[in-house]
């Protein structure tokens, strides 16, 4: 290879690494700033030139965050809502996803697929007002139960999609063998298909949990009393009406709310991307 070509290649490589660096800086700097703010004492936060690394790192912000807002209670509410939503979602989605995978030509499966696609473009405004009115009518407004119901339906499209993808991969022969042995439809599903689907079910449940844990809009509209509020809504309470916030506790609380999301997401990210695309790339 000529020296010029080598030089050109080296320049291209350098450019690529610079771009990669730029991307990582863009991604990481806001995050590092959040972490840094969470551990800064008030004096450093008020200083004119706040640095990256706190001179006197402190955990006071975390203590204060718990004192200022009902953070623990809201975390509990979020946990209950997310766990319940995740459990109910997989329990009701698994049988339907199974049917969609096995009878994909039926009218029902087509309608379900259509609904899954349309629901991605769902205009929240159009749905939230009727939901609010209906839940109010049945006295499920300002209750976690009502919110959980909404979360279940909210994560169903993706749950069905993911699970149907997994269910298609389960060989029919195994189910047929069970059917020949006289097992009924539900028995076959529970004893043969579900165990094989287990990894997919776990991933879907984690996904539904995460969706509920991070959700803000429905919780904001459907819950009124502060003691029922979920964590994302409580986080916004740290910001006063004038937009003035106690930065340290705000950052500390935000960090705490993010940790579970990060851990869970790290576990399922691979599955989500592959699950999302499984249908799109197979021909």
């Amino acid at each position: 290879m000529s020296p010029r070509a080598t030089a050109g290649r080296r320049a291209a490589r350098t450019g690529q690494y610079l771009a990669l660096l730029g991307y990582m800086v863009f991604l990481a700097f806001p995050l590092l700033w959040l972490v840094s703010t969470a551990f800064k004492p008030p004096r450093e936060l008020a200083s004119l030139h706040p640095g990256w690394i706190p001179d006197h790192p402190t955990l006071d912000n975390f203590r204060q965050a718990f004192e200022e807002q009902p953070l623990l209670r809201s975390a509990g509410n979020s946990l209950i809502a997310s766990l319940a939503a995740a459990a109910i979602t997989v329990v009701i989605a698994t049988p339907m996803a199974y049917v969609m995978a096995r009878h994909h030509r039926s009218r029902l499966s087509r309608a379900a697929t259509g609904w899954i696609v349309v629901s991605q473009a769902f205009p929240f405004v159009l749905v939230i007002i009727p939901l609010f009115l209906v839940l109010k009518e049945v006295r499920l407004i300002d209750s976690l139960a009502g919110l959980i119901m909404v979360y279940v339906v909210w994560s169903l499209p993706f749950a069905l999609w993911m699970l149907a993808g997994y269910a298609r991969a389960v060989p029919r022969e195994l189910e047929e063998a069970a059917a020949v042995d006289g097992a009924g439809r539900l028995r076959t599903l529970i004893s043969v298909t579900v165990p094989l689907l287990a990894p997919g079910i776990v991933a879907t449940a984690l996904f539904a949990f995460l969706t509920a844990w991070n959700e803000f809009f429905f919780a904001l509209v459907l819950l009124k009393s502060p003691r029922k509020q979920t964590m994302p809504v409580i986080l916004t309470h740290f910001i006063g009406t004038e937009g003035v916030a106690d930065l340290g506790p705000l950052a500390a609380a935000s960090l705490l709310a993010t940790l579970p999301s990060l851990v869970l997401f790290a576990v399922i990210q691979r599955r989500i991307t592959s699950g999302t695309l499984a249908g799109a790339v197979k021909h």
Partner: protein, 315 residues
């Protein structure tokens, strides 16, 4: 985090429907049992979907033609197109609508181009690639509210990272000229990894031999991209760009936390406007009409986008 296309729902499926009648049994009864079993399996999901998703959607469309309000004692009445006529004259709504479109385009388009470049980059054999991929998880997993809070800290006039870095004093989110661009940057940040990772997954299915053959024939990087890479990732690229546009039109939490729609309504996205109308002023019917208009316009834009792209492909 979402299914990608309508077409893909169908293409990935396995073999044709299975004959269900087992030998030695009367086919009729078997089929009936089969049907029975199917409905039994589907109903637990179907009922909530109908009650809490399809139903409310239809109810919401109906509400747009009523004078439904919060806390009113008289019964709600049909008022025909009155809400829509009011909307036509509501300059605040159209301003918000315009801001919503500017926001959605200003986020989706640069984000897509950036993501495409990054996906191509991360598809190369670079050192630290793993680190970039690991970092990409973070914005994706974070609650939107936290993303908003975090960027408030970055943009903070006194203690913010941005002013500190640039050595200036500016209220990015609070001034009329910089508020919208500032929230657009956050919008791009928030879903850039998701679009990138989706495109990256698409890239992993581009046939390597084709690339090598094209390179042997002396095709440059751009030619190879046009002829080999783009056709392979086009369906995913189309789907994710359309989806991210829709998500951005429906965006709420991010801007609600960042600016609350201010200053002076400069960042009041349609969703924020409708939220205030419905839950601050209790104008349910009017807010539902807004929702309808929004959905109609977005559907038309998307249809145009998809048709144009599909045609462009045939040429």
């Amino acid at each position: 985090m979402v299914p990608v296309t309508a077409a893909s729902a169908r293409s990935g499926e396995g073999s044709a429907e299975h004959p269900s009648a087992a030998p030695g049994k009367r086919p009729g009864s078997r089929v009936a049992a089969h049907r029975h079993g199917t409905w039994f399996l589907v109903l637990p999901a179907l009922i909530p979907i109908l009650l809490l998703s399809v139903g409310p959607l239809l109810y919401g469309i109906a509400l747009a033609f009523t004078d439904s309000q919060a806390g009113r004692t008289e019964p709600t009445q049909w008022i025909g197109l009155l809400n829509f006529q009011d909307l036509l004259r509501d300059t605040l709504f159209w301003e918000s609508f315009r801001i919503g479109l500017v926001w959605a385009v200003a986020v989706s388009v640069p984000q897509f181009l950036l993501a495409l470049g990054l996906a191509l980059l991360l598809n190369q054999n670079l050192r630290f690639r793993w680190l970039a991929r690991a970092l990409a998880i973070v914005p994706w997993a974070m609650p939107e509210v936290v993303v908003g809070i975090m960027w408030r800290l970055v943009y903070h006039p006194d203690a913010g990272l941005l002013n500190e870095t640039l050595g200036i004093h500016r209220d990015w989110l609070g001034s009329l000229s910089t508020a919208l661009p500032a929230v657009v940057v956050v919008g791009i940040w928030a879903s850039l990894p998701q679009v990138t990772v989706t495109l990256l997954a698409g890239l992993s299915h581009v046939p390597r031999e084709l690339h090598e053959a094209a390179a042997m024939d002396g095709a440059g990087a751009w030619r190879r991209f046009r002829a080999v890479t783009w056709p392979a990732i086009r369906p995913i690229a189309l789907a994710i760009s359309a989806l991210s546009f829709i998500w951005n039109v429906n965006s709420f939490a991010l801007v609600y936390v960042l600016t609350g729609g201010g200053p002076g309504g400069r960042t009041r996205l349609p969703m924020l406007f409708a939220y205030e109308e419905a839950f601050r002023y209790g104008q349910f019917g009017y807010a539902a009409a807004m929702g309808c208009v929004l959905v109609a316009v977005v559907s038309i834009l998307l249809a145009v986008h998809l048709v144009a792209r599909l045609k462009g492909d045939d040429a």
